[in-house]
């Protein structure tokens, strides 16, 4: 394989996952939390693809595509919730949203 070997991909993936986790924990706007979640999902995807390349097995790539579909579903529901919260004129702040009640 040309270029860097698999461990470099895994390092990038681990750092990206940690950045995403930091975003989820640090930020309080649910929009940014969702964006950080996307970063974490994509870091996992990068690992899956790197391991698929390492073992020469395409099942990892199939799994990465399934993760992408689940991420799309998660974004739909998450954005729907955010729009519903905003329409009820509640604060868009994950520290203040404590009850799952309308």
């Amino acid at each position: 394989m040309q270029g860097p070997d698999i461990s470099w991909y895994l390092v990038v993936s681990a750092i990206m996952f940690a950045i995403g986790a930091a975003g989820v924990l640090l930020r309080r706007s649910p929009l940014i939390v969702l964006l950080s979640l996307e970063i974490m999902l994509n870091a996992a995807n990068l690992s899956l693809i790197a391991f698929a390349r390492l073992h020469g097995d395409q099942d990892g790539q199939v799994f990465a595509l399934a993760v992408m579909a689940v991420a799309a579903a998660e974004v739909v529901v998450g954005l729907g919730l955010i729009v519903a919260i905003a329409r009820r004129r509640l604060d868009l702040d994950v520290d203040r949203l404590r009850v799952l009640r309308g």
């Binding site: 750092i15 930091a22 924990l25 940014i32 099942d59 579909a69 799309a72």
Partner: protein, 183 residues
Amino acid sequence: MGDFLVWVVWILAAAGCLGSALAVISFTNPFFSALALIGNLGSLAVLFLLASAEFVAAAQVLVYAGAVMVMFLFVIAYLGDRTEGPVTGGPSWVSLGALVVAAALLVEIVVVIGLAAGDGLADEAKVERSFGSPSEIGRLFLTDHLLAFEITSIVLLVAAVGGVVLGTRSRAEDEEELARARP
């Protein structure tokens, strides 16, 4: 020479990935964060290409950077101007704790992968040119992973229904709006 070029492209893509991921979590304006995430997804697609996952890279650009991020940008535009910084307000030990937890997570991942697969990471399997091509992935989806494929379609259907349910206005909300509109 080819190897050198691959290294250059790889380093640029990896730097773009990490830099735009940092930008996503540090911009105060969510619109810029979303744009940075598009950059992140684009450079990630380059890494996918270098790891011979052509179809996943194409799907990444089309589905993620295309469809999902457009939805994000629409919602951000709908919500209007709401800026919030990564460190605005709140006791600073909370953000410090968040950073410590994230760093601990990073160390944990590196240690686990290093211990579990340390030596085996250097020798990749030899793959054919068709590895990761659309036809190969499609064949796998329709033979070995048919069940996963069908379940994915149900997940997407449920998410679409959930989006509609969350998005429709209830009658109580309509009446409230009317009452507010009347003097």
